[in-house]
């Protein structure tokens, strides 16, 4: 009688212990570098572009950019997973200057989370606007690499102190029309004068396009030849111990 009761309580204990540890089992993968394509959806070029961009950010401003793709974030929802991963990897230096771009394929979700230190430069509204303008058009077509690269470039230019222009959705954009009219005018003027300058030496032109800004990203100015894969040499030493508080923005595509 006494013995069976002991066994029973031991059994209950074991079951409880099992249930309690179950939730802690959802461990995160280990970081392999700044770019972690766990879902295997990035093309070679985007991957190396992203790696170069991240290394540049780290070198110039001490900001750690992590780009992660996962097949699924189950059993967590994408936002929870993003916050969890950020703080598990400790992305960002001592000033909590980290930025995480996470793409979940099954959930069709993109989540961007800044560390505490970047919340001022990257308010959630701006983060969301960059996703809408730079990422979403690519993601909807399944071009994950192109979308993540465009987003990373936009964030890098914002972090470098440049203004990001948010496209006004209500106002129709007449920028292209204006450029086109000028172009037409010039052509007409030239026609009338029957004067064609040799090899088109005019300084005008190329002013078309919509209201989208092209963002200038300083290319890698390292003297040596560029490694095609862009892998950081000597393995990845891990992130710098940054923390985040769950901010940022996300979208489903």
């Amino acid at each position: 009688m006494e013995k069976s009761r002991k066994f029973l309580s031991l059994g209950v204990f074991l079951v409880c212990a099992f249930i309690l540890t179950g939730s802690a089992w959802a461990a995160f993968p280990k970081p392999q570098g700044f770019v972690n394509d766990f879902a295997n959806v990035l093309d070679r070029r985007s991957q190396s572009e992203l790696e170069i961009l991240a290394e540049q950010l780290k070198k110039d401003q001490g900001i750690e950019l992590a780009v992660v793709t996962v097949a699924t974030t189950e059993p967590m929802d994408p936002k929870e997973y993003t916050t969890g991963l950020f703080n598990d990897w400790k992305i960002g230096g001592p000033e909590d200057s980290g930025l995480l771009l996470l793409l979940a394929v099954a959930e069709r979700a993109i989540e961007v989370e800044p560390g505490y230190g970047l919340e001022g430069v990257l308010p959630d509204g701006l983060i969301g606007a960059v996703i809408d303008q730079e990422g979403m058009p690519h993601f909807k077509e399944g071009n994950y690499g192109a979308g993540l690269t465009a987003m990373a470039k936009a964030y890098a230019s914002i972090l470098a102190g440049e203004e990001f222009e948010i496209a006004e959705e209500n106002k129709p954009d007449f920028g292209w029309l204006f450029s086109f009219l000028i172009f037409l005018l010039i052509v007409l003027l030239l026609r009338r004068n029957r004067f064609y300058p040799p090899r088109g030496s005019g300084g005008i032109g190329g002013g078309g396009g919509s209201g989208r800004r092209t963002i200038f990203i300083p290319g890698p100015t390292i003297g040596g030849p560029r490694m095609p894969t862009g892998r950081p040499s000597g393995g990845f030493g891990g992130f710098g111990g940054g923390r985040s508080g769950g901010g940022g923005a996300g979208r489903r595509f």
Binding site: G128, M136, G247, A249
Partner: protein, 187 residues
Amino acid sequence: MKKGTIVLIVIAAVIILLGARVISSYNQLVELEQNVEGRWAQVENQLQRRADLIPNLVETVKGYASHEQQVFADVAEARSRLLAARTPEDQMEANASLDSALGRLLAISEAYPQLKADTSFIRLQDELAGTENRIATERMRFNESVQTWNTTIRRFPMNLLAGMFGKEPKRFFEASPGAQEVPQVSF
């Protein structure tokens, strides 16, 4: 005489050891309680941040849906209740009613396509969603610190000490139903 001295020394040593143990345990209690309070301050920060976002959000919605007066009044009332609340308990309760009022405010935006397409509304919604995620994160960290506190003061022998200094278990910050659903911006 010699025997008496030894006994005295042993008693003194036991008292000193016990005293040291009590002091270090007490310091541990103080540290844990400070931790809970610090975590709560973080939650408060985020609640405040959300309260600060609300007037702008309401103004934007008003521009498109001016006749939804009831919802605006509910939101304003819940917001001022949150700002007036002083104790964590009051703040938790006021926050729950703000959650539901805000949910209704965002729900009416569904009926106005032009509002949904407004760039500043989208930005505000992102800010709000981000802040709600921050509240969720800080709430989780707060609850973890409460968990540690509650476990510590209920364990033997700490429960004796906690009882002596009148330390009580603290309340968790429960998420109000529906608050888990972070407003999603979708197209």
